[in-house]
Symmetry: C2
Amino acid sequence: MQRQPILEFWYEFASTYSYLAAMRIEAQAKQAGVQLLWRPFLLGPIFKAQGWDTSPFNLYPAKGRYMWRDMEREAVRFGLPFYRPKTFPQNGLLAARVALLGTDRGWTPAFTKAVYTAQFAECRDIADPQAIAGILTGLGIEAEAVLAEAQGEANKTRLRRMGDEAQSRGLFGAPTFFAEDGEMFWGNDRLEQALDWAVTQARRAEWPG
Amino acid sequence: MQRQPILEFWYEFASTYSYLAAMRIEAQAKQAGVQLLWRPFLLGPIFKAQGWDTSPFNLYPAKGRYMWRDMEREAVRFGLPFYRPKTFPQNGLLAARVALLGTDRGWTPAFTKAVYTAQFAECRDIADPQAIAGILTGLGIEAEAVLAEAQGEANKTRLRRMGDEAQSRGLFGAPTFFAEDGEMFWGNDRLEQALDWAVTQARRAEWPG
């Protein structure tokens, strides 16, 4: 029997291009027959290691202005709503902790899309615990218990380790995709190629010799 | 009679992604019925204004490592040869001056592609005046006269003014495309969208009301 190829999807909640990828990756992966591993993480520490104390889109205004315009166009192209948040980048720490907890429980994809929708389609503040609680409740998840566990030491440590792993694997931005052979693809623009690579690589691994 | 839409193609000779765009833009523009304006310029002063004294691919090693791998994959995807130059970024000043001179004379596209081929397919040093002279001669152009004029004050000033214009229009990297309405697209990944925009925008301008 053919094993399903796997693709890791690393994303940061404040990242605009991660939003585009998160909203369309499931349909694309299904079509390609690829299993997704959702990997929420924090870009902040990775940017800090590069000497940046905020998003490069804030540090480099010309690049930032272009990004907002490009996001408008890209959202139209993918048929997604998009509003520029009042603050950027938003603090995605709580959302990332909760999303990480959900990866073993099956609700991370739905939770992730709901958080991105709240942020980029409904202009809400995702750092607000009430917003996150509301999203969990809306998904039929016990919000209070999940929020407590998400902010427990074990889960906080696990998220920090995700960050260390990201950095050690050469990740420098989001979204980033890894195929099983370690091949890395950066950016929503590379989603299709990452899926192609995952499929091709899995097929090759099955051929003897 | 329908007027042909116009797209400006701004490129830096040392830029790897500008190479990919330069080698495929003519066929794509022809298919789309778009007229190209070739705009060689120097990224160095624009990077300096952002506080960078070299390419961000050198300043941020993780990003740099990824770029070289991505270029290998993208070159395969577009059927182009690609070798990493021994030094990066190469000094494209002379090539840019010569290319700028050719824009009024019709040979800039051929010259540009030959310089990129020398750099990224033949591992040659494009800062070497002999290499540039050889390319000109190969195109049937009087190399000595062109090199002298390219390095004359008038042409040097013109290239500097191109840089000022680039900066004032919000350009921050290469390749960059501008449609006639000023809409800006950055990166080889946006070539198709830039051409689409140019075509759509020109059609709209023709419709009364």
